[in-house]
Amino acid sequence: MRVALVLPAALFGVLALAFAAFMILGRDPRLLPSTMIDQPVPAFTLPALRTGEPGLASADLNAGAGVKLVNFFASWCVPCRVEQPVLMRFAREGGAPIFGINYKDKPEDAIKWLKELGDPFARVAADRDGRAAIDWGVYGIPETFVIDPAGRIRYRHAGPITQDVLERNLMPVIKEAAK
């Protein structure tokens, strides 16, 4: 009799605690796990943002030793402004080459934006219609991918790269991928 009275409340308590723990400790359920992890870089060929410069294709990311970063950005993207100084510092300190893919943007706006905030990219390609981004499984920019020397995607970060994200999430993966 006592058990029957207490049991529903106890079950409710356990469920509430489980949900609370998941909300506080768990990952954000809106974040999408990438299907691209440990997959080779998807096939794509994009023109350069600035005419006369080399574009970017999957072959550029498969070739050459070392870890590379691929960063999707746009001049209209507000969080991209947040991460730009972090990417600038990362590039200056020679962390790894960053390949920028300018997503659904007007080239003149993007060029102006890079002049204003700095250009940390080894190359900047333009994905005007966002089709290549779909092949990368991008669902909102900024998104940053870590590519290992063999040309496989090792990590994807959705959202701006803050100094904290760089040190806590990206650097360990970059070190691991370099092995």
Partner: protein
């Protein structure tokens, strides 16, 4: 009486207005295919693909840029001769099962599919147990259990109501 009818009429109108305001699909005329059969297939696929930006809308209901891109992509694949399953696999390969509004039955989704039935079953079982369990009834009170004093008081209380 008149105002009651007016009120009922207004309520009915309000209800109809709400029911009629079904969400219009966000599919734009410039995206639609001339081939109505292909367009119908595209709509059927789009209804089951989640918009990854708004997450609780299908790509057909969403005005987000990515939803539009995916709608166009679905139509491109269909025009290129893909089957419905190939189109869906194409999108799932890039965005995972999360993009499906109707998740597939696999080991990771067993809890999702079976969970509600299990919880309902447990609830039904506890109701059955609760009602079938024999209950201790309080012993029927006999008149003899009352003392003379109590009987007198009862008579007075009942008698007091009688004159009405």
């Amino acid at each position: 009486m008149r105002t009651a009818w007016l009120g009922a009429g207004l309520a009915l109108f309000g209800l109809l207005a709400v029911l009629a305001a079904a969400p219009a699909p966000a599919v734009q005329p410039d995206e639609m295919l001339a081939d109505t059969a292909l367009e119908a297939r595209a709509r059927a696929i789009g209804k089951n693909l989640r918009c990854l930006v708004c997450q609780n809308q299908s790509i057909d209901d969403s005005d987000a840029g990515l939803a539009r891109d995916l709608r166009i992509l679905v139509r491109q694949r269909l025009t290129a001769g893909d089957s419905d399953a190939q189109v869906i696999d194409f999108v799932v390969a890039r965005y995972g099962d999360f993009v499906l509004l109707n998740p597939p039955l696999k080991p990771v989704t067993y809890a999702l599919w079976v969970g509600p039935a299990v919880i309902f079953g447990l609830a039904a079982l506890s109701v059955v147990i609760y009602f079938r369990r024999p209950r201790k009834r309080p012993a029927p009170a006999s008149a003899a259990a009352l003392s003379a004093e109590e009987r007198e008081r009862l008579r007075r209380l009942l008698g007091a109501e009688r004159p009405r």
